[in-house]
């Protein structure tokens, strides 16, 4: 597994702990939309991510012997997190989660229940119901949700292992639209908060981590960049920088100036 943090940045002795597992990297990456499997693996490795998401789909019976994703993504190297992408109902999401678990790698699921095809925003009512069902079946549930505190608290009460509020709509690249809400969520929740969706570039990731959230999940930001592997490296550094800046405790903002050089000892 990728284990080493970038040299020169403050080492974080406190790893990201979710559902009893510890991860050194706070960056979680999706495996969709890359040019091919070689680029996927290269980008994943460059990102330093230890957990990556995968989707569950029908095998294409017409494709002549397409190679399985598992031939390229070694479950020994990456912890695979199946998602329920494309599900619009509680029933569908639960069905896909069960299929993902049957692959035998873990009982974790990134739970998505989408409410609107255009914005891909979550149907929080169905999401809550699906979370309760899957938690009862022993799943470790990481729900993709919005930045509403009440929904987040309900998801936590329902047994979610983490809560994953969106920064902005999936694949939009708009970055962090409501930092205030994310900060409120982080201050009130006990389970880890992982910002998922909408990240566009490195500064988005850095700014998000500076809020003190526990982790960040992205896919399109890497896959749709001109140079995904380079963006993956940038994101790795951005996440580490943001986390370190948070731990460092930033200076307060003021609306007036305070000199950085001494005011005494000036010449006559």
């Amino acid at each position: 597994m990728n284990t080493v943090t970038t040299k020169g940045l403050a080492a974080d002795p406190d790893p990201l702990t979710i559902g009893g597992r510890a991860f050194e990297s706070r960056l979680i990456v999706g495996t969709g939309k890359y040019r091919d499997s070689e680029q996927t693996v290269a980008a994943l490795r460059a990102s330093g991510a230890q957990m990556v998401t995968v989707a569950v789909r029908r095998v294409d019976l017409d494709a002549s012997k397409e190679e399985s994703l598992l031939h390229h993504l070694d479950p020994q190297e990456f912890f695979l997190l199946p998602n329920t992408a494309g599900c619009y109902t509680e029933e569908d999401a639960v069905r896909y989660a069960r299929l993902g678990r049957e692959a035998g790698l873990s009982d974790w699921v990134k739970l998505e229940v989408i409410g609107d095809q255009e914005t891909l925003l979550p149907d929080t009512e169905a999401l809550l119901a699906a979370t309760r069902t899957l938690v009862a079946e022993g799943f470790t549930v990481l729900p993709y949700t919005n930045d509403d505190l009440i929904t987040a608290l309900k998801l936590q009460d329902a047994g979610a292992a983490a809560v994953m509020p969106l920064a902005s709509p999936i694949g939009s690249g708009l970055g962090l639209l409501n930092p205030v809400n994310i900060r409120i969520l982080k201050s009130r929740l006990d389970v880890p908060v992982i910002v998922d969706a909408g990240v566009g570039t490195a500064s988005d990731a850095c700014a998000t981590m500076e809020l003190g959230v526990d982790g960040i999940l992205m896919n399109t930001a890497l896959a749709a960049a001109d140079h995904p592997v380079l963006m993956a490296q940038a994101m790795r550094q951005a996440v580490e920088a943001g986390r370190a800046a948070w731990l460092a405790g930033r200076m307060p903002k003021r609306e007036w100036g305070v000199p950085s050089s001494p005011s005494t000892g000036m010449l006559d």
Binding site: G30, T31, G32, K33, Y34, T40, T53, V54, A55, V56, R57, R58, V59, L61, K65, S68, L69, L70, H71, D74, Q76, L80, P82, N83, A85, R95, R98, L99, G100, E102, A103, G104, I170, G171, A197, L217, M218, N219, T220
Partner: protein, 283 residues
Amino acid sequence: MKVPLLHVVATDAVVEAPAFETTAADLIAAGRDRIALHLRLRRIAGRDYHELAKRLGKAAADAGAWCVINGRVDVALTSGAQAVQLGSGALPVEAVRRLAGMRLPIGASVHSAGEARQRVAEGADFLVVGSVFSTATHPDRVPGGLALVTACAVAGVPVVGIGGIDPGNGRQVIDAGAAGIAVIRAVWQATNPVDALLRLIDVVAAPAHEQEDERRMLRVEVNGKDREVGDGRTVAGLLEDLELDGRLVVVELNRQIIRRTEIEHVALRDGDRVEIVHFVGGG
């Protein structure tokens, strides 16, 4: 996972005999996708083993056959052989899986149903079960008989019977639940090994195609498309027909997930709806 029907094991003495490689190549060419040639060698030097395995592995690949390296995982991985077989004293299955990933089917030798379950839990893709009958190769071993084969066959992966098997008793081993049989003497000590091989294949092979056409055909839906399968075809059989590796897909039958250990036992019925899914890239 589909394993070849006829496993022929070449020991040091066999490999050291003159004209071994020509015979081996002839066996592979004659047996094609029905033969697995095992190399179980201890006396040979590493480089020679690698080179031999490379040549036979290539011949096997060209013929749709398997060349299986027993014990020497390093030789299996570097030579392009088709599978690796781990004896009782060999490396643990999980250690080999960490090295080989999904690239190489891993077989394990077992002598009891308990061992069979254990190896399958550790991740073995197929088992070689022995001794079925008494054999001069292991004169002190008490044979487990056909009951041993049947007991191991429910562990969830294909089993290959070994130990005293010949044309006279080979079919019984298959009927007891084995997916294949392994022989040493029956082929190498025959006057004409290729003839002996073909005779063994005839004895143990599945019913001829003409018989299958007379069987009732069922209509099922697979991944949204209609498909015909023979009456009694199991989910495992369907995966075989579709050339899918059972370890890499998940199957749902009429909205119920079929566990991997069950796919050999669940038979399809007319009107069944099958969904076969796998992991793909996604965010």
